[in-house]
Symmetry: C2
Subunit: 168 residues, 2 copies
């Protein structure tokens, strides 16, 4: 019952990308440097978002990732499911099949009341997450921390022309 670290990274990355100019991609290396994260692993997580249709990727110089659709069309649930997989966290293994009186041809995930209870709770959880969008979170942050957006954009795209790492 432990959610992968990639969810947190992916959500922050999506919010940041909702601030960068549309059409300009942000490389995973730059995002990773922003948060001091392992670059290759963050890249792996963003790949999952691409497979889910949340991000679009561009190869080569000036390449990277960008949102595949408008931020208000990306829910938090979309991101969570892209990283963690679409399966329910509670998996009913059909424990009743092997119990006395159990039948093989019954879908206990539907009839078992315990399974129903867990599923119902999970539906409320998902509904809650599906109500929140990347755009909503971004505007809330802008309202609460007015400097965050500008500072983030400056750090992510403003450093575009820094090809001189030879500062020694």
């Amino acid at each position: 019952m432990k959610m992968g670290q990639g969810v947190e990274w992916a959500l922050h990355s999506c919010v940041n990308m909702s601030w960068t100019p549309v059409g300009e991609a942000v490389s995973s290396a730059r995002l990773a440097a922003f948060y001091k994260l392992p670059a290759a692993y963050l890249n792996k997580q963003l790949q999952a978002l691409v497979r889910a249709g949340i991000l679009a990727s561009v190869s080569g110089p000036r390449g990277g990732f960008q949102l595949a659709r408008r931020p208000d069309q990306i829910s938090v649930l979309d991101v969570v499911l892209a990283i963690e997989g679409k399966d329910d966290s509670f998996r009913c293994e059909g424990i009743l099949k092997d119990a006395p009186g159990g039948a093989m041809d019954v879908d206990y995930a539907r009839t078992c009341l315990i399974s129903q209870t867990m599923r119902h709770a999970e539906v409320t959880w998902r509904t809650e997450l599906s109500r929140q969008t990347i755009a909503g979170i971004a505007t809330s942050i802008e309202r609460r921390f007015p400097d965050a957006k500008e500072a983030t954009v400056r750090e992510l795209v403003g450093a575009r022309g820094q090809n001189q790492p030879r500062l020694a």
Copy 2:
């Protein structure tokens, strides 16, 4: 984001124990045989419920487990937290601490809006599970499958005198 198998086993076991006569313990071996589960591993899960104060254990012959309090005082959430641990599934690792402009002495689990969103969704999930009790599920099953309780009790405690035939 995958819940342990022990949660399902523990919930079924608790419902079954709510049907057995109070004062009589049910051994993990018997419960495991009922569901065709690995006995030692089920025992391990029930130990976690004992540590959480949900079950009480009795050693020796005629020993086993029994509910430590009334079934209507045991919520589904209690069982889930006992098995999976009390921590939130979404762990905010304070990603913003290492970001530009981040401060070490800020509790980002509180201020970070992404963390707040995830936490809020999880609270609704927990609230939903805390509303359901073992007794509630048990009575629902009794209403829906009138034979279940009797069959379960017969299988779990009725086979008590199997080594010594004291059949009436």
